[in-house]
């Protein structure tokens, strides 16, 4: 009986602590898309964007070109930097699993300025609570020629 009591107490004490730990081995799926409006009758999506077509269809453009797609494992003990284009870099820390099953994610998209020497400023800085596998869209990152850079993220945490 005493052993049961100790086990229950340990579980009760350890649960919130473990739930707040960094979700190790988290994987960030990333789609980088260049969106333009070319007055098409029907939106056009590059191959490789099938998984996010539904998300893109809600945006006010008609042409979506794939710039990059990939999975990135977030470093458990540090900062992950992913160069999106020559201008933009994604910077993020591993997400933290919360007790309600969501993932707390802090990410920054840094833009290289045209200054000499160039500086990096935060084009976007955000902290959010995401459900695993739910998509996050970041848009409004302007490119030359009226193009818009659209980033789509999905965060997955491997089962323990």
């Amino acid at each position: 009986m005493i052993r049961c009591l100790l086990a229950v107490l340990l579980a009760v004490i350890a649960f919130p602590w473990s739930a707040a730990q960094a979700a190790e081995g988290s994987e960030l799926k990333l789609w980088v898309v260049e969106a333009t409006t070319e007055k098409r009758e029907k939106p056009q999506y590059d191959k490789g964007l099938e998984a996010i077509e539904r998300v893109l269809s809600a945006l006010p453009h008609d042409t979506y070109r794939k710039v990059h797609t990939g999975k990135h494992t977030l470093l458990a003990d540090g900062l992950t930097r992913i160069m999106i284009t020559k201008t933009y870099t994604l910077e993020t820390k591993p997400p933290v699993a919360t007790s309600d099953g969501r993932l707390r994610l802090r990410l920054r998209i840094l833009m290289k300025t045209t200054d000499k020497p160039p500086k990096e400023i935060e084009a976007v800085s955000t902290e959010l609570l995401l459900q695993p596998d739910k998509q996050l869209v970041v848009r409004g990152l302007k490119q030359k020629g009226g193009k818009e850079l659209v980033l789509v993220f999905a965060l997955t945490v491997p089962p323990k």
């Binding site: 049961c4 099953g101 969501r102 976007v124 955000t126 902290e127 609570l129 995401l130």
Partner: protein
């Protein structure tokens, strides 16, 4: 065992028990009757075997009141269970387990909350950060900035 059908059997048994009054006649019969001789030998053997058993303990008259007093005390004052802190901890553990089980049964796993944007900002000159979460759970963050500023 062979059954002794001789009519002298009872006399032989009385003789063996020391209750016979006609010793010489019985002894003469035993000397002539093989059945009665064997019956007597069997009786003597059984008697010696019973005599070898330990005697059952018995209470003397002086011991009897103390014996009864012990029985009365055992009946009126039953043995105390282990108490103190161990009993308290056992009860606490049982209560805790029941409480947790009940809580788990009635609450169950809570619904996973929707996405939530805690903060969003931009350092782009003239830029404004916005966010929105659609009904199907897709979170969109967008930066609005004048074309000319880029």
């Amino acid at each position: 065992m062979i059954m002794n059908t001789c009519k002298w059997t009872q006399k032989v048994e009385a003789y063996t028990d020391g209750e016979s009054h006609d010793h010489s006649a019985v002894e003469a019969h035993i000397a002539d009757c093989a059945l009665c001789a064997r019956h007597r030998a069997t009786m003597l053997h059984m008697r010696s075997a019973l005599g070898a058993l330990p005697e059952a303990p018995s209470l003397s008259d002086g011991q009897f009141p103390a014996f009864m007093e012990g029985i009365h005390e055992g009946v009126s004052h039953s043995r105390k269970r282990p108490g103190g802190i161990w009993a308290l901890m056992s009860l606490s553990a049982a209560a805790l387990v029941i409480a947790i089980a009940t809580f788990s049964m009635f609450t169950g796993p809570g619904p996973v909350k929707a996405n939530e944007v805690e903060s969003v900002s931009t350092q782009l000159e003239g830029g404004t950060a916005h966010w929105d979460i659609s009904d199907d759970g897709v979170t969109t963050i967008w930066i609005s900035i004048a074309e000319d500023d880029f």
